[in-house]
């Protein structure tokens, strides 16, 4: 029940600050408060800009004592995101989780991760290898391509 109350509070917070943070759009499932969908804008000055990425958030019962399970629904070429499953390698979603974090702050952390990839702990080995080999240009072009293919709305439509 603690998780439910907490999620309700976060829901209210999201409704209240909907316009405050235009980069993050958190949508709660109508029938299940433990299932959320987030739309995050790709940060500027990254290959992900102009893209809108969909995240699926699965909140466990023990939340907020355990982190929510977040994965990319939209395909993204990023060293710390599994290319097929969308799994995200992010410490705050694993060991560094703190109950003080919220779904909103998780989304913000993911945006930060998109700006600052960590090639040393890759889930996408191809992407990680590009960065570790210093081929930033290759990484950027690949990432931009997948962003345009999968995440830019006007191209989708």
């Amino acid at each position: 029940m603690a998780s439910r109350a907490r999620l309700f509070k976060e829901y209210k917070e999201v409704q209240r600050e909907k316009t405050a943070d235009s980069d993050i759009q958190l949508i709660c499932d109508e029938n299940n408060i433990y299932r959320w969908t987030a739309h995050i804008k790709g940060p500027a000055d990254t290959p992900y800009q102009e893209g809108v990425f969909q995240l699926s958030i699965n909140v466990p019962e023990q939340y907020p004592l355990v982190p929510p399970q977040v994965r990319f629904v939209t395909k993204i070429f990023h060293p710390n995101v599994h290319f097929k499953t969308g799994e995200i390698c992010l410490d705050i979603l694993k060991t560094a989780w703190s109950p003080a974090w919220t779904l909103q702050s998780v989304c913000r952390a993911i945006i930060a991760l998109m700006s600052h990839p960590e090639p040393d702990s890759p889930l996408n080995c191809d992407c990680g290898n590009l960065l570790r080999s210093g081929d930033h240009r290759g990484y950027r072009s690949m990432a931009r391509m997948y962003t345009r293919l999968a995440a830019v709305p006007n191209i989708l439509h």
Partner: protein, 406 residues
């Protein structure tokens, strides 16, 4: 005990120029007692003198034991309870009296002893109006008619109040107390016969209640203090309204002594609530004490503050008052930000216990439930991710190198 007390009261009344007891509650009881004695001629006391004397001695033993308890308690509690006691009704038992006695001056002692030697017969023959006032309070309370007599006897009350106040201030040390008690024993008093048992029991109840409330208020719980303050305010308003009308003489004479004033007004308050005698008595008693505790009555710079007060009430009421003020006004003295109203983890409202709970040096607050759950888990502070038992762990690691990480 009750009987002895009543005897003592009567004794006190009989010698109005040298009141033995400074009890505040006693004052309120005066008028009713007057009626009592008027109704019953004092000569009836002589016949039963010896019998009562024996009984009184038996009770003296009990009283001694009880006094020992009281001394221990009082010394443990400090003087707060004492102030509470002094604010009590005359029917209250010897603990209070002892307190008063401790303050006695030698002159007072002499007076008391002389009175004692002279015997109670003399005093008994004095006009009943003078002698009676103190005893019947309990009965009056039980009858719920105290206010009826209030107006007519207010003048008497006034006189006796002043006397009592003086006496209270200067009154008693241990020997004096003994003498008083002895005196009261020797005299068979009509009080014990005429006062209903209900009266004394009622007063006892009120006493215990007031005592407990005193304890609770001294526990420095902010909420409780706030509650008491609101109660005190309400009672104060009522008292001021009351003061306008019939109680004026009382108030006037009382201005010399703050405690007395409080008592009388509170008792008047009690009259207003027309219920059972006990319930009537309680609110007044509590109210008076509350007002004193809330720091309303006598600040050190009060002009009307009697000089005699410091010895009796300043010592106990002052620390209490300052403590409560300190607690309420300096809630965030430790430099921590004010606690959030809700737990950031579970969003439940933080109660006072949770609000005062700062488990981590980073100042992150959370409710005890969440803290417990986190301790069961990884045990790290949500605010800074440091382990909650870092200090304990470091000590432990130093001792047996269980956990090297700090």
């Amino acid at each position: 005990m009750c009987q002895i007390d009543s005897q003592m009261e009567q004794q006190t009344v009989l010698n109005p120029e040298k009141p033995v007891r400074g009890d505040v509650g006693f004052i309120s009881s005066l008028p009713s007692k007057v009626e009592k004695s008027l109704a019953v001629p004092p000569t009836s006391e002589n016949g039963k003198k010896k019998r009562v004397q024996r009984a009184a001695k038996l009770k003296q033993c009990k009283m001694d034991a009880r006094r020992e308890q009281w001394l221990a308690q009082v010394s443990g509690k400090g003087r707060k309870s004492e102030s509470c006691d002094s604010s009590h009704s005359s029917s209250q038992d010897d603990g209070e009296e002892k307190e008063l006695l401790l303050q006695a001056s030698p002159r007072e002692l002499d007076i008391i002893t002389s009175v004692n030697k002279e015997g109670s017969e003399d005093s008994r023959h004095k006009p009943p109006v003078e002698s009676s006032p103190s005893k019947a309070m309990g009965q009056e309370w039980s009858d719920g008619q105290f206010h009826n007599h209030l107006g007519s006897f207010s003048q008497d009350i006034k006189h006796s109040l002043c006397q009592h106040h003086e006496h209270e201030a200067a009154c008693s040390n241990e020997p004096a107390k003994h003498s008083v008690e002895r005196r009261s024993e020797q005299k068979p008093s009509t009080i014990q016969r005429y006062d209903t048992q209900g009266t004394w029991s009622a007063s006892d109840t009120s006493f215990s209640q007031s005592n407990s409330s005193q304890m609770s208020s001294s526990s420095e719980d902010e909420n409780e203090v706030d509650d008491w303050e609101t109660v005190a305010d309400a009672l104060h308003v009522q008292a001021t309204v009351e003061d306008m009308k019939p109680t004026k003489p009382i108030d006037h004479c009382l201005s010399s002594d703050g405690t007395l004033h409080l008592k009388s007004s509170s008792s008047i308050d009690a009259d207003k609530c027309i219920l059972k005698p006990e319930s009537k008595y309680r609110p007044g008693n509590c109210g008076s004490r509350t007002r004193a505790d809330a720091g309303r009555a006598w600040r050190p710079d009060d002009l009307s503050r009697p000089e005699t007060l410091p010895r009796l009430s300043k010592q106990h009421s002052f620390p209490l008052q300052s403590g409560s003020l300190w607690a309420t006004s300096h809630g965030t003295i430790w430099g921590l930000p004010p606690p959030p109203s809700h737990c950031p983890i579970c969003t439940e409202e933080l109660d006072t216990t949770d609000s005062s709970f700062v488990p981590c040096s980073c100042g992150f607050r959370l409710c005890l439930f969440c803290h417990h759950r986190i301790l069961i888990g990884d045990g790290r502070c949500p605010g800074c991710r440091k382990s909650y038992n870092t200090e304990a762990a470091s000590k432990l690691s130093r001792a047996c190198s269980v956990r090297p990480r700090v």
